[in-house]
Symmetry: C2
Subunit: 293 residues, 2 copies
């Protein structure tokens, strides 16, 4: 990897986190603040997958129940994992329904406590422990690369680095088709885009979070975008040469570096591999569509 990029790369492999992604950190931190009566009524989360798994798992750990609202085209492996943790799944159509309304109805009817996927200070703080650990493990980095969706992982991680390593260049990565944060930073305000169609299902939001954007506009130096092809290349490279299973969203940082969207010649670069929940059959379809990988 170092040779192919021309830099010293340090991968923070959140694929090995409980639930297979960094999302456990934010959900656990948020749910540790539940009151006794909130725990009795249960929690609810809307999620394209990894956040749902994290909330389902944490609900079990905290002895409460969870309803997970998922798009009906979410990867099968993610649905099965949520059910495996004992949570209830409610599905919606991500191209025609407003998931927030689906959640609001359930909250009103059952008195559930929403666990936001990113737009919450306790969730962001939990996610930021990714960067805290990475800093403790490898210290000085010239560049920190973080995939961006709602922006919670970046808000937590960039806050940590701005405090502990202010000279580090902080770079977000989005799919080319899902560049809502890049556009928002350029516009100086939150910009909504059409729901992006990308294999990076974890990066498929259409607008940055309110709270996350207020932080990221101050902390992030740059957002770069990556093509679908470079996401497949990165997933295949991480599989074949690093022996790590990473989902396309999680491989966005490696995609940016290997494709040249992000140049970091000779630098020390920390890259967050944010999650590894990918169906083998999907991985194969993507690679088959690119026989040169």
């Amino acid at each position: 990897l170092d040779a192919s990029v021309g830099a010293s790369i340090f991968l923070k492999a959140e694929v090995f986190q409980r639930g297979g992604a960094f999302k456990f950190r934010g959900a656990f931190n948020r749910m540790s603040f539940l009151s006794d009566s909130e725990r009795v009524r249960g929690v609810i989360a809307m999620s394209s997958g990894n956040h749902g798994q994290a909330v389902a798992l944490c609900a079990r750990l905290f002895g409460t129940s969870a309803v997970i609202v998922m798009p009906k085209d979410a990867p099968r492996s993610k649905m099965e994992a949520v059910e495996g943790y004992g949570a209830e799944i409610v599905t919606y159509d991500r191209y025609t329904e407003d998931r927030a309304e689906v959640v609001d109805r359930l909250v009103a009817a059952r008195g559930l406590t929403p666990i936001p996927p990113y737009d919450d200070y306790q969730v962001m703080a939990g996610a930021g422990t990714v960067a805290l650990e990475l800093f403790e493990q490898v210290s000085a980095l010239d560049v920190l690369v973080v995939p961006m969706s709602g922006g919670g992982l970046m808000a937590g991680c960039s806050t940590v680095f701005r405090a502990l390593s202010p000279g580090t260049r902080i770079v977000g990565v989005e799919p080319f088709t899902g560049d809502d944060t890049k556009r928002s930073l350029e516009a100086g305000e939150r910009v909504r885009i059409p729901v992006p169609r990308t294999i990076a299902d974890g990066l498929q939001v259409d607008i940055p979070g309110v709270l996350t954007f207020e932080i990221n506009r101050l902390t992030v130096d740059e957002v770069v975008t990556v093509s679908e092809e470079s996401l497949v290349d990165a997933v295949a490279f991480l599989f074949g040469r690093m022996k790590v299973v990473v989902e396309p969203s999680g491989a966005a940082g490696v995609a940016a570096l290997r494709s040249g969207s992000l140049r970091a010649d000779g630098q020390r670069v920390g890259v967050v591999l944010s999650g590894g929940n990918v169906d083998l059959s999907l991985l194969v379809d993507w690679v088959a569509a690119r026989p040169d990988v």
Copy 2:
């Protein structure tokens, strides 16, 4: 994994070793003993894949050249990796030709030094550092599980555990179709079997090594066998739930535990994942043939 097996499992992930498998350890140790004149002439190795990669990589590190003799049906990824390290490949037909003769011809013609894949004390000692590290990392184990092919990994690992942890039960794993060591231990002498056809291409030898067998007959408590189906299940489980890429040979220990070939209820079990060099397309074919995985 613990829940599915009913034991506390500690995976020693040699997939993250240089070259993607434990083989680097033995090759490096052996090649550190090369004389100056041997280094000038170069080395040769016969290998179904991972040993070849290790020797090719070590040749570069020691500033010498390597010829790797490989079966012509070896996985493409392994051939490409060997070439990527700058070694020369000579192929043979594993069902009709004697690979030892192919090597002997090249040794005689070019004055190359053979680096044996397992039947060599320095190679075994290098491989044994897998167990030494595992012992330092997790100390007391009730059971140590090691895939067996020529027996070099087992000879090194079992020697370490017999010295440092004599009470640990030492279990080898072979494919059901490639049970040469199991038969040899039962017979009290080396037994040759037909070259096994198995997806575990790294465990495809037909007879234990001479030196390795003399050690393993004294150190190994038991050899269990696993089916092809359980190898696929183990590879798929390690991919889907552990996010680690493991080749069928490397997953033999997990296959034994998950299939019930090896019972270790409530025990602390160390399992060597010996390598991770697997083509994505092959992995898919295997899983597709077992749709319930």
